[in-house]
């Protein structure tokens, strides 16, 4: 059985992906990941080995992010929005191949309220169950479901994914 510190290094890419999708900035994301790892090592005893390590780590990182947001809010307007990048488009060579659609989805994701985006990422990207997502976010499972449903309908609207109409390929209209 691996210890928490041992698992951390292997989990870095996942953690970083989650951090980037939360905060839109690689720079901030890396700080968050580092702080989360440090926190995890300190709190290693509180990890129950029979539970999901990823959910536990996401929860730590997400709490740090919330703290950060709260601080930023009380500290007055910050330049975080300016720093925001179009992060989900893979950088470097891969960017050339990134499809327009993905950019559209990425842009739409960033327009969603934070609370909708985070639940969307936890379930659809990190593949957490509703129950695990509820634990990470410290909200009831019913709230996870209503938020997630709303997030997906919003996203569909923003990206032109067929909404309540008959699906037919190739007819992705604009925002209705």
């Amino acid at each position: 059985m691996q210890t928490v510190p041992q698992r951390l290094v292997a989990f870095l890419p996942n953690l970083r992906r989650f951090a980037i999708s939360l905060c839109h900035s690689r720079e901030l994301a890396d700080d968050l990941v580092q702080a989360a790892c440090e926190r995890a090592i300190v709190a290693a005893d509180s990890f129950a080995p029979d539970t999901r390590f990823d959910a536990w780590m996401f929860r730590i990182l997400r709490n740090l992010w919330i703290d950060h947001l709260r601080r930023a809010r009380t500290a007055g307007p910050q330049d975080e929005l300016e720093k925001a990048e179009n992060v989900s488009v893979p950088s470097g060579e891969a960017a050339a191949h990134a499809r327009m659609e993905l950019q559209e989805v990425t842009a739409a994701l960033q327009k969603l309220p934070d609370e909708q985006r985070e639940v969307l990422v936890l379930v659809c990207v990190e593949e957490l169950s509703y129950r695990d997502a509820a634990d990470v976010l410290s909200i009831p499972i019913g709230t996870v479901m209503s938020r997630l449903a709303r997030a997906r309908k919003n996203l569909a609207e923003l990206t032109g994914i067929s909404l309540g109409e008959k699906r037919s390929s190739g007819t992705k209209g604009g925002v209705a």
């Binding site: 210890t3 510190p5 041992q6 951390l8 290094v9 870095l12 890419p13 996942n14 970083r16 992906r17 980037i20 999708s21 690689r26 890396d30 700080d31 990941v33 580092q34 702080a35 790892c37 440090e38 090592i41 300190v42 290693a44 005893d45 703290d67 601080r71 992060v87 989900s88 893979p90 950088s91 891969a94 659609e101 993905l102 989805v105 990425t106 994701l109 969307l120 990422v121 379930v123 659809c124 990207v125 169950s129 509703y130 479901m145 209503s146 997630l148 449903a149 997906r152 309908k153 996203l155 569909a156 990206t159 994914i161 067929s162 909404l163 309540g164 109409e165 008959k166 699906r167």
Partner: protein
């Protein structure tokens, strides 16, 4: 014909494979003849796929080396500390940190990590001298002074060593700790020792050459960083110090 209505959450749970079997069967049956239902379901299937394809590839992005290195270092040192002390956690930050501490910790991380190495490094030294050892007159005199003398006082322990007690405080675990300098002709050792099981146990000891009687700044930085990691409280005022020392004895 009766058309059963399923709400968004139920359809979404079906799309995500989270719906119980009985309800799933009913949804499947309804899908056969309800096109509107199929279209609503498609929204949840499509959005899941879209988000996954847009965000998942981020995992292939190489983790910046600086980040990976610094996490590896923290991990290694946590492991090393565990082995060295036999404790689960040397860097314990129990309780809630103040906002200031959290902020400080962000830039202190690299320093704190290197300090762990120092602490681990002096492990043998600590083990050798922790606790009162009859027959070691220096330790006896030192511990007696730590038990009784107020901060700010100077005590000549031997002909060549002077003890200067800097401050008294409690750490995050509530242990009583003191910071003191042992001054010798050529060098100065700054130590943080905490009272555990009736003895003063050295937690950090940094020896540096004496330069005009001052501890070099880098050394002081390390002490400060260490104090932050153990959640050292404010130095106790004279009265509080006196009663804390009396209690600890």
């Amino acid at each position: 014909m009766n058309i059963e209505y399923f709400d968004d959450e139920t359809l979404m749970a079906f799309a995500d494979g989270e719906l119980d079997e009985a309800t799933s069967l009913r949804v499947e049956a309804a899908l056969d003849h309800d096109e509107a239902l199929a279209a609503r379901l498609a929204v949840f299937l499509d959005t899941r796929l879209a988000v996954a394809s847009a965000v998942k590839p981020l995992i292939d992005e190489p983790v910046p080396e600086a980040l990976a290195d610094s996490v590896r270092r923290v991990v290694q040192e946590a492991e090393a500390a565990k082995v060295a002390t036999g404790e689960k956690n040397v860097l314990a930050f129990p309780g809630r940190e103040t906002r200031q501490q959290v902020e400080r910790r962000q830039w202190l991380l690299p320093i704190a990590a290197s300090i762990l190495a120092v602490i681990t490094g002096v492990g043998g030294f600590v083990a050798g001298r922790s606790g009162l050892q009859p027959g070691n007159s220096l330790d006896t005199a030192l511990f007696a002074a730590l038990d009784a003398q107020p901060s700010g006082s100077e005590v000549a322990l031997t002909d060549t060593q002077t003890l200067h007690i800097v401050a008294t405080f409690t750490d995050g675990r509530g242990e009583l700790c003191r910071e003191y300098d042992l001054r010798r002709a050529q060098e100065n050792t700054t130590t943080v020792a905490c009272r555990a099981n009736g003895a003063w146990v050295t937690r950090l000891a940094l020896t540096s050459p004496r330069t005009e009687g001052y501890v070099p700044a880098s050394s002081q930085d390390m002490v400060d960083a260490y104090l932050t990691t153990i959640e050292a409280g404010e130095p106790l005022a004279a009265d509080a110090e006196k009663s804390a020392l009396a209690k600890a004895e």
